[in-house]
Protein backbone atom coordinates (compact mmCIF):
# COMPACT_ATOMS: atom_id res chain seq x y z
CA UNK A 1 0.00 0.00 0.00
CA UNK A 2 1.08 3.55 -0.77
CA UNK A 3 0.73 5.86 2.24
CA UNK A 4 0.59 9.58 1.51
CA UNK A 5 1.70 12.18 4.03
CA UNK A 6 1.37 15.87 3.25
CA UNK A 7 0.95 19.30 4.72
CA UNK A 8 -1.93 19.86 2.29
CA UNK A 9 -4.95 17.71 1.50
CA UNK A 10 -3.76 15.29 -1.19
CA UNK A 11 -6.70 12.91 -1.06
CA UNK A 12 -7.98 13.79 -4.56
CA UNK A 13 -4.83 11.97 -5.76
CA UNK A 14 -6.65 8.69 -5.21
CA UNK A 15 -8.37 8.98 -8.58
CA UNK A 16 -4.93 8.64 -10.20
CA UNK A 17 -4.16 5.47 -8.23
CA UNK A 18 -7.48 3.78 -8.84
CA UNK A 19 -5.97 0.34 -9.44
CA UNK A 20 -3.59 0.49 -6.52
CA UNK A 21 -3.92 0.42 -2.80
CA UNK A 22 -3.47 3.95 -1.47
CA UNK A 23 -4.35 5.75 1.75
CA UNK A 24 -3.83 9.21 3.21
CA UNK A 25 -2.75 10.51 6.58
CA UNK A 26 -4.96 13.55 6.17
CA UNK A 27 -4.26 17.25 6.04
CA UNK A 28 -1.13 18.30 7.94
CA UNK A 29 -0.64 14.97 9.71
CA UNK A 30 2.99 14.29 8.67
CA UNK A 31 4.62 14.71 12.09
CA UNK A 32 1.81 13.11 14.04
CA UNK A 33 1.86 10.04 11.84
CA UNK A 34 5.66 9.70 11.84
CA UNK A 35 5.99 10.17 15.59
CA UNK A 36 3.49 7.46 16.48
CA UNK A 37 4.89 4.00 15.80
CA UNK A 38 1.39 2.55 16.01
CA UNK A 39 0.19 4.66 13.11
CA UNK A 40 -0.55 3.26 9.65
CA UNK A 41 2.70 4.39 8.04
CA UNK A 42 4.62 1.93 10.24
CA UNK A 43 2.38 -1.02 9.42
CA UNK A 44 3.59 -3.95 7.32
CA UNK A 45 1.03 -3.29 4.58
CA UNK A 46 2.76 -0.04 3.67
CA UNK A 47 5.34 -0.64 0.94
CA UNK A 48 5.62 2.90 -0.41
CA UNK A 49 5.43 6.32 1.23
CA UNK A 50 4.95 9.64 -0.51
CA UNK A 51 5.82 12.73 1.50
CA UNK A 52 4.57 15.81 -0.32
CA UNK A 53 5.61 19.19 1.05
CA UNK A 54 3.83 22.32 -0.09
CA UNK A 55 6.19 25.31 0.09
CA UNK A 56 3.57 27.78 1.32
CA UNK A 57 2.40 25.19 3.84
CA UNK A 58 5.92 24.98 5.27
CA UNK A 59 6.22 28.75 5.69
CA UNK A 60 2.64 29.40 6.83
CA UNK A 61 2.35 32.95 8.26
CA UNK A 62 6.06 33.50 7.80
CA UNK A 63 5.40 33.72 4.07
CA UNK A 64 4.49 37.37 4.75
CA UNK A 65 7.64 38.25 6.67
CA UNK A 66 10.91 39.59 5.35
CA UNK A 67 13.32 36.66 4.98
CA UNK A 68 16.37 37.03 7.22
CA UNK A 69 19.04 34.78 8.68
CA UNK A 70 16.86 33.90 11.67
CA UNK A 71 13.98 32.81 9.50
CA UNK A 72 16.30 30.75 7.32
CA UNK A 73 17.77 28.87 10.27
CA UNK A 74 14.33 28.43 11.86
CA UNK A 75 12.98 26.79 8.71
CA UNK A 76 16.13 24.72 8.26
CA UNK A 77 15.67 23.37 11.79
CA UNK A 78 12.06 22.49 11.14
CA UNK A 79 12.94 20.64 7.96
CA UNK A 80 15.81 18.88 9.71
CA UNK A 81 13.39 17.74 12.39
CA UNK A 82 10.87 16.50 9.87
CA UNK A 83 13.54 14.64 7.88
CA UNK A 84 14.78 12.99 11.06
CA UNK A 85 11.27 11.61 11.59
CA UNK A 86 11.36 10.21 8.06
CA UNK A 87 14.77 8.67 8.81
CA UNK A 88 13.32 7.05 11.86
CA UNK A 89 10.65 5.44 9.69
CA UNK A 90 13.31 4.13 7.29
CA UNK A 91 15.34 2.64 10.12
CA UNK A 92 12.33 0.73 11.41
CA UNK A 93 10.86 -0.20 8.04
CA UNK A 94 13.92 -1.00 5.95
CA UNK A 95 12.10 -2.25 2.86
CA UNK A 96 9.73 0.67 2.44
CA UNK A 97 10.25 2.91 -0.58
CA UNK A 98 10.06 6.60 0.33
CA UNK A 99 9.59 9.45 -2.12
CA UNK A 100 9.76 13.07 -1.05
CA UNK A 101 9.49 16.15 -3.25
CA UNK A 102 11.76 19.12 -3.49
CA UNK A 103 9.90 22.27 -2.53
CA UNK A 104 8.67 25.24 -4.51
CA UNK A 105 7.91 28.59 -2.92
CA UNK A 106 5.80 30.75 -5.25
CA UNK A 107 7.69 33.73 -6.59
CA UNK A 108 4.93 36.35 -6.31
CA UNK A 109 5.08 37.73 -2.78
CA UNK A 110 4.86 41.04 -0.94
CA UNK A 111 8.56 41.43 -1.68
CA UNK A 112 7.84 42.12 -5.38
CA UNK A 113 11.23 42.54 -7.03
CA UNK A 114 13.18 42.18 -3.82
CA UNK A 115 12.98 38.43 -3.95
CA UNK A 116 15.31 38.41 -6.93
CA UNK A 117 17.32 41.52 -6.04
CA UNK A 118 17.86 41.37 -2.30
CA UNK A 119 19.38 38.83 0.02
CA UNK A 120 18.35 36.85 1.96
CA UNK A 121 15.31 35.94 -0.09
CA UNK A 122 12.70 33.21 -0.31
CA UNK A 123 14.83 31.68 -3.05
CA UNK A 124 17.54 31.12 -0.48
CA UNK A 125 15.07 29.43 1.85
CA UNK A 126 13.87 27.24 -1.00
CA UNK A 127 17.44 26.28 -1.91
CA UNK A 128 18.30 25.53 1.69
CA UNK A 129 15.26 23.28 2.20
CA UNK A 130 15.91 21.41 -1.03
CA UNK A 131 19.59 20.90 -0.29
CA UNK A 132 18.59 19.26 3.00
CA UNK A 133 16.08 17.00 1.26
CA UNK A 134 18.55 15.96 -1.45
CA UNK A 135 21.29 15.25 1.10
CA UNK A 136 18.94 13.08 3.14
CA UNK A 137 17.82 11.09 0.10
CA UNK A 138 21.45 10.59 -0.92
CA UNK A 139 22.30 8.89 2.33
CA UNK A 140 19.59 6.24 2.04
CA UNK A 141 19.23 3.76 -0.80
CA UNK A 142 15.43 3.65 -0.55
CA UNK A 143 14.68 7.38 -0.40
CA UNK A 144 14.18 9.29 -3.64
CA UNK A 145 13.39 12.88 -4.53
CA UNK A 146 10.43 13.74 -6.73
CA UNK A 147 11.51 16.72 -8.77
CA UNK A 148 8.53 18.94 -8.07
CA UNK A 149 10.69 21.98 -8.74
CA UNK A 150 11.40 20.58 -12.20
CA UNK A 151 7.71 19.91 -12.83
CA UNK A 152 6.75 23.43 -11.77
CA UNK A 153 9.42 24.95 -13.98
CA UNK A 154 8.19 22.81 -16.88
CA UNK A 155 4.45 23.53 -16.48
CA UNK A 156 4.30 26.71 -14.42
CA UNK A 157 3.02 27.27 -10.89
CA UNK A 158 -0.24 28.82 -12.06
CA UNK A 159 -1.00 25.95 -14.42
CA UNK A 160 -0.75 23.39 -11.62
CA UNK A 161 -2.40 25.19 -8.74
CA UNK A 162 -5.67 26.95 -7.96
CA UNK A 163 -6.24 28.95 -4.78
CA UNK A 164 -9.90 28.06 -4.88
CA UNK A 165 -9.18 24.51 -3.82
CA UNK A 166 -7.02 25.76 -0.99
CA UNK A 167 -9.95 27.69 0.46
CA UNK A 168 -12.45 24.92 -0.30
CA UNK A 169 -10.54 21.83 0.73
CA UNK A 170 -7.00 22.72 1.88
CA UNK A 171 -5.45 21.43 -1.28
CA UNK A 172 -3.50 23.84 -3.47
CA UNK A 173 -3.27 21.71 -6.62
CA UNK A 174 -5.77 21.68 -9.45
CA UNK A 175 -6.43 18.59 -11.56
CA UNK A 176 -3.43 19.41 -13.77
CA UNK A 177 -1.26 19.49 -10.66
CA UNK A 178 -2.50 16.13 -9.41
CA UNK A 179 -1.97 14.54 -12.83
CA UNK A 180 1.59 15.90 -13.02
CA UNK A 181 2.41 14.69 -9.50
CA UNK A 182 0.96 11.21 -10.06
CA UNK A 183 2.74 10.86 -13.41
CA UNK A 184 6.10 11.87 -11.98
CA UNK A 185 5.64 9.55 -9.01
CA UNK A 186 4.88 6.59 -11.27
CA UNK A 187 7.70 7.34 -13.66
CA UNK A 188 10.22 7.64 -10.84
CA UNK A 189 8.95 4.45 -9.21
CA UNK A 190 9.27 2.64 -12.54
CA UNK A 191 12.83 3.90 -12.96
CA UNK A 192 13.70 2.64 -9.46
CA UNK A 193 11.93 -0.70 -9.50
CA UNK A 194 11.97 -1.72 -13.17
CA UNK A 195 14.88 0.29 -14.57
CA UNK A 196 15.32 1.88 -17.97
CA UNK A 197 15.02 0.34 -21.40
CA UNK A 198 18.42 -0.40 -22.93
CA UNK A 199 18.32 0.26 -26.64
CA UNK A 200 16.99 3.12 -28.73
CA UNK A 201 16.42 2.01 -32.34
CA UNK A 202 16.45 4.93 -34.76
CA UNK A 203 15.17 5.48 -38.23
CA UNK A 204 17.20 7.95 -40.32
CA UNK A 205 15.23 9.86 -43.01
CA UNK A 206 12.97 12.49 -41.39
CA UNK A 207 14.06 11.21 -37.99
CA UNK A 208 17.77 12.00 -37.55
CA UNK A 209 17.69 14.51 -40.40
CA UNK A 210 15.05 16.19 -42.56
CA UNK A 211 14.38 14.86 -46.04
CA UNK A 212 15.15 11.58 -47.78
CA UNK A 213 18.81 10.80 -48.30
CA UNK A 214 18.21 8.61 -51.35
CA UNK A 215 16.40 11.49 -53.11
CA UNK A 216 17.98 14.63 -51.69
CA UNK A 217 21.59 13.43 -51.46
CA UNK A 218 24.13 14.12 -48.72
CA UNK A 219 24.10 17.83 -49.46
CA UNK A 220 20.32 18.04 -49.67
CA UNK A 221 19.25 16.67 -46.30
CA UNK A 222 18.17 19.16 -43.64
CA UNK A 223 20.75 19.18 -40.90
CA UNK A 224 22.74 22.14 -39.67
CA UNK A 225 22.77 25.34 -37.68
CA UNK A 226 19.88 27.09 -39.42
CA UNK A 227 16.14 26.67 -39.64
CA UNK A 228 14.67 23.22 -39.36
CA UNK A 229 18.10 21.64 -39.80
CA UNK A 230 18.96 22.97 -36.33
CA UNK A 231 16.01 21.06 -34.83
CA UNK A 232 17.41 17.80 -36.19
CA UNK A 233 20.91 18.69 -35.03
CA UNK A 234 19.72 19.38 -31.49
CA UNK A 235 17.68 16.18 -31.55
CA UNK A 236 20.93 14.35 -32.31
CA UNK A 237 22.66 16.17 -29.45
CA UNK A 238 19.91 15.05 -27.09
CA UNK A 239 20.31 11.46 -28.35
CA UNK A 240 24.03 11.67 -27.75
CA UNK A 241 23.25 12.85 -24.23
CA UNK A 242 21.15 9.73 -23.64
CA UNK A 243 23.99 7.63 -24.99
CA UNK A 244 26.35 9.20 -22.44
CA UNK A 245 24.18 7.89 -19.59
CA UNK A 246 24.29 4.34 -20.89
CA UNK A 247 21.49 4.08 -23.49
CA UNK A 248 22.57 2.12 -26.56
CA UNK A 249 21.76 3.71 -29.91
CA UNK A 250 21.16 1.62 -33.03
CA UNK A 251 20.13 2.40 -36.61
CA UNK A 252 17.33 0.61 -38.45
CA UNK A 253 16.91 2.23 -41.83
CA UNK A 254 15.82 1.44 -45.35
CA UNK A 255 18.58 3.08 -47.32
CA UNK A 256 21.68 2.33 -49.35
CA UNK A 257 24.31 1.57 -46.73
CA UNK A 258 27.11 3.35 -48.59
CA UNK A 259 25.08 6.59 -48.74
CA UNK A 260 24.46 6.48 -45.01
CA UNK A 261 28.09 5.73 -44.18
CA UNK A 262 29.03 8.72 -46.29
CA UNK A 263 26.77 10.94 -44.18
CA UNK A 264 27.97 9.41 -40.91
CA UNK A 265 31.60 9.93 -41.84
CA UNK A 266 31.59 13.13 -43.82
CA UNK A 267 28.54 15.29 -43.20
CA UNK A 268 29.95 18.23 -41.21
CA UNK A 269 26.75 18.79 -39.23
CA UNK A 270 26.18 15.22 -38.03
CA UNK A 271 26.44 14.99 -34.23
CA UNK A 272 26.11 11.20 -34.17
CA UNK A 273 28.87 9.28 -35.91
CA UNK A 274 29.47 5.63 -36.74
CA UNK A 275 31.04 4.90 -33.33
CA UNK A 276 28.00 6.24 -31.47
CA UNK A 277 25.87 3.36 -32.73
CA UNK A 278 26.14 -0.05 -31.14
CA UNK A 279 24.51 -1.76 -34.11
CA UNK A 280 23.34 -0.74 -37.57
CA UNK A 281 20.96 -2.37 -40.04
CA UNK A 282 20.85 -0.33 -43.21
CA UNK A 283 19.23 -2.46 -45.89
CA UNK A 284 15.89 -3.19 -47.54
CA UNK A 285 14.73 -5.94 -45.19
CA UNK A 286 11.69 -5.36 -43.02
CA UNK A 287 12.30 -3.39 -39.83
CA UNK A 288 11.02 -6.16 -37.52
CA UNK A 289 13.53 -8.58 -39.11
CA UNK A 290 16.34 -6.12 -38.56
CA UNK A 291 15.29 -5.46 -34.98
CA UNK A 292 15.31 -9.18 -34.17
CA UNK A 293 18.73 -9.45 -35.72
CA UNK A 294 20.00 -6.57 -33.52
CA UNK A 295 18.45 -8.20 -30.44
CA UNK A 296 20.37 -11.39 -31.25
CA UNK A 297 23.62 -9.58 -31.88
CA UNK A 298 23.45 -7.68 -28.59
CA UNK A 299 21.99 -10.65 -26.70
CA UNK A 300 19.14 -8.47 -25.39
CA UNK A 301 15.39 -9.04 -25.15
CA UNK A 302 13.18 -7.07 -27.51
CA UNK A 303 11.32 -5.77 -24.45
CA UNK A 304 14.38 -3.69 -23.63
CA UNK A 305 14.07 -1.85 -26.95
CA UNK A 306 12.37 1.36 -28.05
CA UNK A 307 11.81 2.18 -31.73
CA UNK A 308 11.56 5.74 -33.09
CA UNK A 309 10.36 6.28 -36.65
CA UNK A 310 8.47 9.14 -38.32
CA UNK A 311 6.64 6.71 -40.61
CA UNK A 312 3.33 5.48 -39.09
CA UNK A 313 3.32 2.40 -41.32
CA UNK A 314 6.70 1.27 -40.03
CA UNK A 315 5.62 1.96 -36.46
CA UNK A 316 2.50 -0.17 -36.89
CA UNK A 317 4.47 -2.95 -38.52
CA UNK A 318 6.91 -3.11 -35.62
CA UNK A 319 4.10 -2.87 -33.06
CA UNK A 320 2.20 -5.80 -34.53
CA UNK A 321 5.21 -7.99 -35.37
CA UNK A 322 7.15 -7.30 -32.15
CA UNK A 323 4.70 -6.33 -29.41
CA UNK A 324 7.46 -6.32 -26.78
CA UNK A 325 9.25 -3.42 -28.49
CA UNK A 326 7.99 -0.03 -27.27
CA UNK A 327 6.97 2.23 -30.14
CA UNK A 328 5.99 5.78 -29.09
CA UNK A 329 3.97 8.04 -31.37
CA UNK A 330 6.13 10.54 -33.25
CA UNK A 331 5.79 14.36 -33.05
CA UNK A 332 4.05 16.15 -35.91
CA UNK A 333 6.70 18.83 -36.18
CA UNK A 334 10.48 18.46 -36.24
CA UNK A 335 10.79 21.43 -33.88
CA UNK A 336 9.20 19.31 -31.14
CA UNK A 337 11.65 16.41 -31.51
CA UNK A 338 14.12 17.39 -28.81
CA UNK A 339 11.64 18.28 -26.07
CA UNK A 340 9.54 15.21 -26.92
CA UNK A 341 12.59 12.97 -26.60
CA UNK A 342 13.75 14.47 -23.30
CA UNK A 343 10.24 14.81 -21.89
CA UNK A 344 7.90 11.97 -22.74
CA UNK A 345 10.30 9.40 -24.16
CA UNK A 346 13.25 9.69 -21.77
CA UNK A 347 11.37 10.12 -18.49
CA UNK A 348 8.85 7.42 -19.32
CA UNK A 349 11.17 4.81 -20.83
CA UNK A 350 14.77 5.67 -20.01
CA UNK A 351 14.38 6.98 -16.47
CA UNK A 352 17.65 6.61 -14.55
CA UNK A 353 18.18 7.11 -10.84
CA UNK A 354 21.86 6.08 -10.55
CA UNK A 355 24.81 6.42 -12.86
CA UNK A 356 27.55 3.78 -12.70
CA UNK A 357 30.91 3.64 -14.46
CA UNK A 358 29.51 0.79 -16.55
CA UNK A 359 26.77 3.11 -17.84
CA UNK A 360 29.35 5.62 -19.06
CA UNK A 361 31.18 3.09 -21.23
CA UNK A 362 28.19 1.03 -22.35
CA UNK A 363 28.39 1.59 -26.09
CA UNK A 364 32.07 0.68 -26.19
CA UNK A 365 31.38 -2.50 -24.24
CA UNK A 366 28.76 -3.69 -26.67
CA UNK A 367 30.87 -2.75 -29.67
CA UNK A 368 33.76 -4.78 -28.25
CA UNK A 369 31.36 -7.66 -27.84
CA UNK A 370 30.43 -7.46 -31.51
CA UNK A 371 34.13 -7.61 -32.42
CA UNK A 372 34.55 -10.68 -30.19
CA UNK A 373 31.64 -12.39 -31.92
CA UNK A 374 33.20 -11.75 -35.29
CA UNK A 375 36.53 -13.25 -34.22
CA UNK A 376 34.78 -16.24 -32.65
CA UNK A 377 33.03 -17.12 -35.87
CA UNK A 378 36.40 -17.93 -37.47
CA UNK A 379 37.75 -20.24 -34.76
CA UNK A 380 36.67 -23.13 -32.53
CA UNK A 381 35.95 -22.25 -28.91
CA UNK A 382 39.17 -23.87 -27.66
CA UNK A 383 41.19 -21.93 -30.21
CA UNK A 384 39.30 -18.72 -29.74
CA UNK A 385 39.17 -18.20 -25.96
CA UNK A 386 42.95 -17.97 -25.38
CA UNK A 387 43.21 -15.35 -28.14
CA UNK A 388 40.94 -13.06 -26.11
CA UNK A 389 43.73 -12.56 -23.55
CA UNK A 390 41.32 -12.42 -20.64
CA UNK A 391 42.41 -10.50 -17.54
CA UNK A 392 40.31 -10.46 -14.39
CA UNK A 393 40.53 -8.84 -10.97
CA UNK A 394 38.79 -10.62 -8.11
CA UNK A 395 37.97 -8.68 -4.95
CA UNK A 396 36.63 -9.70 -1.56
CA UNK A 397 34.34 -7.21 0.23
CA UNK A 398 35.36 -4.21 -1.89
CA UNK A 399 33.39 -1.27 -0.45
CA UNK A 400 33.71 0.86 -3.58
CA UNK A 401 31.89 -1.72 -5.74
CA UNK A 402 28.77 -2.03 -3.59
CA UNK A 403 26.49 -0.02 -5.88
CA UNK A 404 27.46 -2.07 -8.93
CA UNK A 405 27.36 -5.38 -7.02
CA UNK A 406 23.83 -4.54 -5.88
CA UNK A 407 22.85 -3.58 -9.42
CA UNK A 408 24.20 -6.91 -10.69
CA UNK A 409 22.31 -8.95 -8.09
CA UNK A 410 19.17 -6.94 -8.79
CA UNK A 411 19.28 -7.16 -12.56
CA UNK A 412 20.67 -10.60 -13.32
CA UNK A 413 17.93 -13.12 -14.01
CA UNK A 414 19.67 -15.60 -16.31
CA UNK A 415 23.05 -16.52 -14.87
CA UNK A 416 21.70 -16.48 -11.31
CA UNK A 417 21.96 -19.61 -9.16
CA UNK A 418 19.39 -18.95 -6.44
CA UNK A 419 17.41 -15.93 -7.66
CA UNK A 420 18.23 -14.02 -4.46
CA UNK A 421 18.20 -10.34 -5.42
CA UNK A 422 19.91 -8.57 -2.51
CA UNK A 423 19.21 -4.89 -1.88
CA UNK A 424 21.92 -2.33 -1.22
CA UNK A 425 21.10 -2.43 2.50
CA UNK A 426 21.47 -6.20 2.57
CA UNK A 427 24.78 -6.01 0.74
CA UNK A 428 26.01 -3.44 3.21
CA UNK A 429 25.01 -5.43 6.28
CA UNK A 430 26.50 -8.61 4.79
CA UNK A 431 29.82 -6.92 4.21
CA UNK A 432 29.93 -6.07 7.91
CA UNK A 433 29.23 -9.69 8.86
CA UNK A 434 32.50 -11.57 9.55
CA UNK A 435 30.96 -14.86 8.39
CA UNK A 436 29.89 -13.55 5.01
CA UNK A 437 32.15 -12.65 2.12
CA UNK A 438 31.07 -10.78 -0.98
CA UNK A 439 33.27 -11.55 -3.97
CA UNK A 440 33.25 -9.57 -7.18
CA UNK A 441 35.02 -9.92 -10.50
CA UNK A 442 36.07 -7.31 -13.04
CA UNK A 443 36.69 -8.45 -16.58
CA UNK A 444 38.86 -7.13 -19.37
CA UNK A 445 40.16 -8.59 -22.61
CA UNK A 446 41.94 -7.38 -25.70
CA UNK A 447 38.75 -5.76 -27.00
CA UNK A 448 38.12 -3.70 -23.91
CA UNK A 449 36.85 -3.54 -20.35
CA UNK A 450 33.52 -5.05 -19.36
CA UNK A 451 33.83 -3.83 -15.77
CA UNK A 452 32.32 -5.63 -12.82
CA UNK A 453 30.46 -8.61 -14.30
CA UNK A 454 30.21 -11.28 -11.61
CA UNK A 455 29.50 -11.40 -7.89
CA UNK A 456 28.97 -14.03 -5.24
CA UNK A 457 27.98 -14.17 -1.59
CA UNK A 458 29.62 -16.86 0.55
CA UNK A 459 28.45 -17.82 4.04
CA UNK A 460 31.11 -19.49 6.21
CA UNK A 461 30.24 -21.88 9.00
CA UNK A 462 33.15 -23.63 10.75
CA UNK A 463 35.14 -25.48 8.10
CA UNK A 464 32.39 -25.38 5.48
CA UNK A 465 31.05 -22.62 3.27
CA UNK A 466 27.82 -22.12 1.33
CA UNK A 467 27.50 -20.22 -1.93
CA UNK A 468 24.37 -18.22 -1.07
CA UNK A 469 24.18 -16.80 -4.56
CA UNK A 470 26.38 -16.42 -7.60
CA UNK A 471 25.51 -14.13 -10.50
CA UNK A 472 27.25 -13.28 -13.73
CA UNK A 473 26.38 -10.85 -16.50
CA UNK A 474 25.31 -12.55 -19.73
CA UNK A 475 27.84 -10.41 -21.57
CA UNK A 476 30.66 -12.78 -20.57
CA UNK A 477 28.89 -16.14 -20.82
CA UNK A 478 30.83 -18.82 -22.69
CA UNK A 479 34.31 -17.60 -21.70
CA UNK A 480 34.76 -19.80 -18.61
CA UNK A 481 34.62 -16.67 -16.45
CA UNK A 482 32.41 -18.48 -13.93
CA UNK A 483 35.16 -21.12 -13.56
CA UNK A 484 37.87 -18.52 -13.14
CA UNK A 485 35.76 -16.77 -10.51
CA UNK A 486 34.89 -19.98 -8.65
CA UNK A 487 38.56 -20.97 -8.61
CA UNK A 488 39.59 -17.67 -7.02
CA UNK A 489 36.85 -17.97 -4.42
CA UNK A 490 37.94 -21.53 -3.59
CA UNK A 491 41.59 -20.45 -3.27
CA UNK A 492 40.50 -17.77 -0.83
CA UNK A 493 38.49 -20.24 1.24
CA UNK A 494 41.22 -22.91 1.11
CA UNK A 495 43.80 -20.44 2.38
CA UNK A 496 41.55 -19.81 5.36
CA UNK A 497 41.31 -23.46 6.27
CA UNK A 498 37.86 -24.22 4.90
CA UNK A 499 37.32 -27.76 3.65
CA UNK A 500 33.80 -28.28 2.33
CA UNK A 501 31.75 -26.22 -0.11
CA UNK A 502 27.98 -26.25 -0.55
CA UNK A 503 26.12 -24.78 -3.49
CA UNK A 504 22.46 -24.35 -4.35
CA UNK A 505 20.74 -24.16 -7.68
CA UNK A 506 17.12 -23.04 -7.53
CA UNK A 507 15.57 -23.25 -11.00
CA UNK A 508 13.49 -20.34 -12.34
CA UNK A 509 12.01 -19.83 -15.80
CA UNK A 510 15.09 -17.88 -16.89
CA UNK A 511 18.19 -19.39 -15.28
CA UNK A 512 18.66 -22.66 -17.17
CA UNK A 513 21.94 -21.28 -18.56
CA UNK A 514 23.49 -21.79 -15.10
CA UNK A 515 21.85 -25.11 -14.29
CA UNK A 516 24.77 -27.42 -15.18
CA UNK A 517 27.66 -25.47 -13.68
CA UNK A 518 27.88 -27.24 -10.32
CA UNK A 519 27.56 -30.66 -11.93
CA UNK A 520 30.17 -29.79 -14.58
CA UNK A 521 32.77 -28.85 -12.00
CA UNK A 522 32.25 -32.15 -10.17
CA UNK A 523 30.09 -31.19 -7.19
CA UNK A 524 27.85 -33.97 -5.92
CA UNK A 525 24.09 -33.41 -6.07
CA UNK A 526 22.68 -34.04 -2.60
CA UNK A 527 19.08 -33.08 -3.19
CA UNK A 528 17.03 -31.39 -5.85
CA UNK A 529 18.62 -28.00 -5.20
CA UNK A 530 21.73 -28.72 -3.12
CA UNK A 531 25.28 -29.65 -4.18
CA UNK A 532 28.43 -30.30 -2.17
CA UNK A 533 32.09 -31.23 -2.51
CA UNK A 534 35.58 -30.84 -1.10
CA UNK A 535 37.31 -27.56 -1.81
CA UNK A 536 40.61 -29.33 -2.68
CA UNK A 537 39.05 -31.59 -5.29
CA UNK A 538 36.94 -28.75 -6.69
CA UNK A 539 40.12 -26.73 -7.22
CA UNK A 540 41.69 -29.61 -9.14
CA UNK A 541 38.67 -29.96 -11.38
CA UNK A 542 38.45 -26.19 -11.99
CA UNK A 543 42.15 -26.04 -12.89
CA UNK A 544 41.50 -28.36 -15.81
CA UNK A 545 38.55 -26.34 -17.11
CA UNK A 546 39.76 -22.75 -16.83
CA UNK A 547 41.39 -21.34 -19.93
CA UNK A 548 44.65 -19.46 -19.81
CA UNK A 549 44.01 -16.04 -18.35
CA UNK A 550 45.60 -13.45 -16.14
CA UNK A 551 44.03 -13.42 -12.68
CA UNK A 552 44.72 -10.81 -10.03
CA UNK A 553 43.30 -11.63 -6.63
CA UNK A 554 43.33 -8.43 -4.60
CA UNK A 555 43.65 -10.18 -1.24
CA UNK A 556 46.87 -12.06 -2.04
CA UNK A 557 48.77 -8.78 -1.73
CA UNK A 558 47.20 -8.03 1.64
CA UNK A 559 48.03 -11.49 2.89
CA UNK A 560 51.70 -11.21 2.29
Amino acid sequence: MLRVLSNINLEPLKVDFRNESISFAGYNQIERELLDQNSTVFSKDVTEVLVFLDGVGLLRDRFYEIPNANLISEIANEIGQLLSYVENLIRLRKTVLVMINNVVIPSRTHLTFLNANATPSFYEIEDRINAQITAMAHSYSNVWVIDWRGIVSEHGYRTLTDEKFWYLARTSLNREGFIALAREYKRLRKAILVGPKKVLLLDLDNTLWGGVLGEDGTGGIQLGEDGIGKAYREFQQALKGLKSVGILLAVVSKNAESDVLEVLQRHPMMVLRREDFTAMRINWLSKPENIVSIANELNLDTNSMVFLDDNPVERDLVRSALPMVTVPEFPEEAVELKSWLLGEVATELFGKVRLTNEDRGKTEQYQANAARTELASQLTVEEYLPTLKIRVIVDANAAQSRARVTQLFQKTTQFNFTDRHYTEDQIESMSNDPNRIIFSLQYEDKFGKEGLVAAAVIVCNGTSALIDNFVMSCRVIGRTVEMIFLRSIMRYLQARGLVTIYGEFIPTVRNTVASEVYRNVGLKQESETRYSGGIDSLLLSLGAKVIASEVCESWTKEDR
Partner: protein
Protein backbone atom coordinates in the same frame (compact mmCIF):
# COMPACT_ATOMS: atom_id res chain seq x y z
CA UNK B 1 -17.63 18.56 -30.11
CA UNK B 2 -21.41 18.47 -30.57
CA UNK B 3 -23.79 18.81 -27.65
CA UNK B 4 -24.51 15.11 -27.34
CA UNK B 5 -20.78 14.43 -27.31
CA UNK B 6 -20.22 17.02 -24.56
CA UNK B 7 -22.98 15.58 -22.44
CA UNK B 8 -21.67 12.08 -22.92
CA UNK B 9 -18.20 13.23 -21.92
CA UNK B 10 -19.59 14.84 -18.79
CA UNK B 11 -21.25 11.62 -17.67
CA UNK B 12 -18.03 9.79 -18.49
CA UNK B 13 -16.03 12.13 -16.25
CA UNK B 14 -18.53 11.78 -13.40
CA UNK B 15 -18.51 7.98 -13.70
CA UNK B 16 -14.72 7.74 -13.77
CA UNK B 17 -14.12 10.22 -10.98
CA UNK B 18 -16.68 8.79 -8.60
CA UNK B 19 -15.95 5.23 -9.75
CA UNK B 20 -19.60 4.38 -10.41
CA UNK B 21 -21.01 2.67 -13.55
CA UNK B 22 -22.05 5.22 -16.15
CA UNK B 23 -25.43 3.54 -16.72
CA UNK B 24 -26.38 4.21 -13.13
CA UNK B 25 -26.11 7.95 -13.67
CA UNK B 26 -28.73 10.35 -15.00
CA UNK B 27 -29.40 14.08 -14.93
CA UNK B 28 -31.40 13.49 -11.80
CA UNK B 29 -28.58 11.74 -9.94
CA UNK B 30 -28.19 13.50 -6.59
CA UNK B 31 -25.29 13.92 -4.19
CA UNK B 32 -27.23 12.29 -1.38
CA UNK B 33 -28.10 9.21 -3.47
CA UNK B 34 -24.55 8.38 -4.60
CA UNK B 35 -22.34 7.14 -1.79
CA UNK B 36 -19.08 8.11 -3.53
CA UNK B 37 -20.28 11.67 -4.07
CA UNK B 38 -19.25 12.78 -0.59
CA UNK B 39 -17.36 16.00 0.13
CA UNK B 40 -14.07 14.53 -1.18
CA UNK B 41 -15.88 13.09 -4.22
CA UNK B 42 -17.36 16.52 -4.84
CA UNK B 43 -13.94 18.20 -4.88
CA UNK B 44 -12.56 15.48 -7.14
CA UNK B 45 -15.50 15.97 -9.48
CA UNK B 46 -15.03 19.74 -9.63
CA UNK B 47 -11.29 19.29 -10.24
CA UNK B 48 -11.91 16.83 -13.09
CA UNK B 49 -14.71 18.79 -14.79
CA UNK B 50 -12.75 22.05 -14.66
CA UNK B 51 -9.91 20.39 -16.54
CA UNK B 52 -11.95 18.43 -19.07
CA UNK B 53 -14.23 21.36 -19.97
CA UNK B 54 -11.78 24.24 -19.51
CA UNK B 55 -14.29 25.68 -17.09
CA UNK B 56 -13.99 27.41 -13.74
CA UNK B 57 -16.71 27.04 -11.14
CA UNK B 58 -17.32 29.80 -8.64
CA UNK B 59 -17.26 28.95 -4.95
CA UNK B 60 -21.02 29.62 -4.83
CA UNK B 61 -21.69 27.17 -7.66
CA UNK B 62 -19.56 24.51 -5.98
CA UNK B 63 -21.49 24.95 -2.73
CA UNK B 64 -24.87 24.89 -4.45
CA UNK B 65 -24.49 21.90 -6.79
CA UNK B 66 -26.53 18.93 -5.58
CA UNK B 67 -27.41 17.12 -8.85
CA UNK B 68 -25.85 16.33 -12.21
CA UNK B 69 -28.47 18.57 -13.82
CA UNK B 70 -27.01 21.48 -11.87
CA UNK B 71 -23.52 20.66 -13.12
CA UNK B 72 -24.86 20.63 -16.69
CA UNK B 73 -26.50 24.01 -16.07
CA UNK B 74 -23.10 25.47 -15.14
CA UNK B 75 -20.87 23.77 -17.69
CA UNK B 76 -23.15 23.30 -20.69
CA UNK B 77 -25.83 26.01 -20.31
CA UNK B 78 -26.92 25.73 -23.96
CA UNK B 79 -27.87 22.07 -23.44
CA UNK B 80 -29.48 22.77 -20.12
CA UNK B 81 -31.73 25.41 -21.71
CA UNK B 82 -33.18 22.87 -24.14
CA UNK B 83 -34.85 20.75 -21.52
Amino acid sequence: MDQRGSLDKLFQVVAETLNVPKHELSRDSRRDSIKEWDSLGHIMLILAIEREFHFKFSIEQIDRIKTIAEIIACVLPEISAEI
